[in-house]
């Protein structure tokens, strides 16, 4: 929880990227939480820079921060694969550890596996990120 709270309280990637070329917003209908991602993807398909904006609970905002931290510098294909592994991680059995080849930050969200009603909060940013990377290769 503490590391999740650290990302929630002291985000490094919060803001509006000036020269973004991809952006999308999602709003959680059940609570009104919002996440917007701004990406700059270069001609080689690498996510050079990204930032996020939005309002909401610790899960929706910290996962946007984490998505930004982890996706920076990756290719779009790597981002899609990372996002899918986060989804698989959340849907796994509560006590299953994070696979060694995956970012250990995922483990901040371990408890969330027991709270399916809240998983949408943490998935919002990842879904946006994946769509932005899939949509245009």
């Amino acid at each position: 929880m503490s590391s999740l709270m650290e990302m929630y309280r002291n985000p490094r990637y919060r803001g509006v990227l000036e020269d973004y070329n991809r952006s999308s917003t999602e709003i959680n209908r059940s609570c009104g939480d919002s996440v917007t991602l701004y990406l700059r993807v270069n001609s080689q398909g690498i996510v050079e820079e990204l930032q996020f904006a939005g309002e909401g609970c610790s899960l929706s905002q910290s996962s946007a921060e984490l998505a930004c931290r982890l996706a920076r510098g990756l290719t779009c294909a790597q981002v899609v694969s990372l996002s899918q592994s986060f989804i698989r991680f959340l849907l796994a059995e509560p006590d299953q550890p994070v696979e060694s080849n995956l970012p250990q930050e995922f483990s901040y969200y371990n408890d969330l596996r027991r709270y399916p009603m809240r998983q949408k909060c943490a998935l919002m940013a990842w879904e946006i990120l994946e769509n932005l990377c899939v949509a245009q290769g």
Partner: protein, 416 residues
């Protein structure tokens, strides 16, 4: 009759259970109430002993099911003050069983609103409404050209009789409003509102989903044309709503759903309909649910509605006092138990409502979080991000409120 704690714990075994490994504290009765053993027994007795259809068979079990089903209708009429009526006098209104409050509201929007409203005529409602009371009237206005007007609310989520009455015009054909807000618990002066609406000739529709489970209601004294509510918020099962309507108006309305049970005579190309109330009860009704609801009404009558109201008033007063000692808690609504039902919605500074809900859940405390199916109200109260709602019923105690506040304190510590 006073509350007998031992009996309550026996009747509601779920109160002694655990959630997330902690003793279960239920503060979400405005979403649905807990179900006593007696209600479950009435339903299982039906299924196990005489579970056949009503209004159809000529055999004994069907007769029994039909008789008991109709007895619950009478019980409901009695609960609403319609029975006993004076000999020789025809009943003022009818009780119709629907599948939910939402279906009852839609029945009125379709069979009355769409059929009878004309362009330029007005529907008056308020900014406190639940989606089930507000949304069905949006397409009515689109289809008919009628105009929806709303009574604005104060920052406390309240409005006065004048706020309401000053928006009535000779063009107001329908006034539709809740007797108790599902978010703030605010209870507007409905009796006077009904009277003023009638003075301009408007039809009056009262959403009783939150109110009826906590307060005795006498529809004759209240004077409304329609009142609807849900069985599952008053100890009954899910899947059953109640619509009370005045006979003379129901008779002028077309059916809402068509099919079996509601017809009198059918030929290949035409049919005639059954008189009230069956005209509005197409298809096999929720028989077990109606029988369960009968047991719920018995349970409530045994405790007495005024005892329930007194107990809840005490709990709400206690909760509001605890909240007032915490300047970092922002309670929505009037904060006045005289005009507020057993609901306390709030936010805690620095903790998002969903995070608070989850932290309470992890301590075994069930509350509702989010926008509570009342988005316009949340916008008007400037809490677009939602709020936590603790709602009480007679089976709650001061201890539950203490547990809630311990939970809130812990969440506040974590989020600091």
């Amino acid at each position: 009759m006073s509350m007998n704690r031992t009996a309550i714990l026996e009747d509601f075994p779920i109160l002694s259970s655990t959630m997330r490994g902690k003793p279960f504290t239920y503060l979400d009765s405005a979403a649905t109430s807990l179900t006593p053993e007696q209600v479950v027994q009435a339903m299982s007795r039906y299924y196990l002993e005489y579970g056949v259809n009503v209004h159809r068979g000529v055999y004994e079990f069907s007769e029994r099911a039909t008789r008991e089903y109709e007895e619950v209708r009478k019980k409901t009429e009695k609960f609403l003050g319609l029975l006993p009526h004076s000999p020789g006098k025809s009943p003022l209104g009818h009780v119709i069983f629907t599948k939910s409050t939402t279906e009852a509201s839609n029945l009125l929007a379709y069979s009355y609103g769409r059929a009878k409203l004309r362009s330029g005529e007005e529907i008056l409602t308020t900014e406190t409404e639940h989606h089930s009371t507000l949304v069905p009237w949006h397409p009515v206005c689109e289809k008919t050209g009628a105009i929806l007007k709303t009574v604005p609310i104060s920052p406390q989520g309240t409005f006065t009789l004048d706020d309401f009455a000053s928006r009535l015009t000779p063009r107001t054909k329908i006034a539709v409003f809740s007797a108790m807000s599902n978010v703030t618990g605010f209870m507007p002066p409905i009796k006077e509102m009904i009277q003023r609406a009638k003075e301009v000739g408007a039809l009056t529709i009262v959403d009783g989903a939150q109110y009826v489970s906590h307060h005795g209601v006498n529809v004759e004294e209240l004077g409304c044309d329609f009142l609807y509510f849900s069985a599952h918020k008053m100890l009954g099962p899910t899947g059953l709503g109640v619509l009370y309507g005045r006979t003379e108006i129901l008779e002028t309305m077309e059916p809402f759903l068509y099919g079996g049970n509601m017809i009198l005579k059918v030929s290949d190309f035409a049919s005639t309909y059954h008189p009230l109330p069956e005209k509005f009860e197409a298809g096999t009704p929720p028989i077990a649910e109606v029988l369960g609801f009968g047991a719920a009404l018995d349970y409530l009558s045994n405790i007495r509605m005024d005892t329930i109201r007194d107990q809840e008033k005490r709990l709400l007063t206690y909760g509001l006092e605890m909240a007032s000692k915490r300047p970092w808690m922002k309670v929505l609504g009037p904060k006045n138990p005289e005009i507020q039902g057993a609901i306390m919605s709030f936010n805690v500074e620095g903790v998002h409502s969903h995070d608070l809900g989850t932290l309470l859940d992890s301590q075994g405390i069930a509350v509702r979080t989010g926008v509570h199916c009342a988005q316009p109200l949340m916008e008007h109260l400037r809490v677009g991000g939602g709020a936590v709602r603790a709602s009480m019923y007679f089976y709650n105690t001061e201890k539950d409120i203490d547990t809630l506040f311990e939970g809130i304190e812990r969440a506040k510590e974590i989020f600091g």
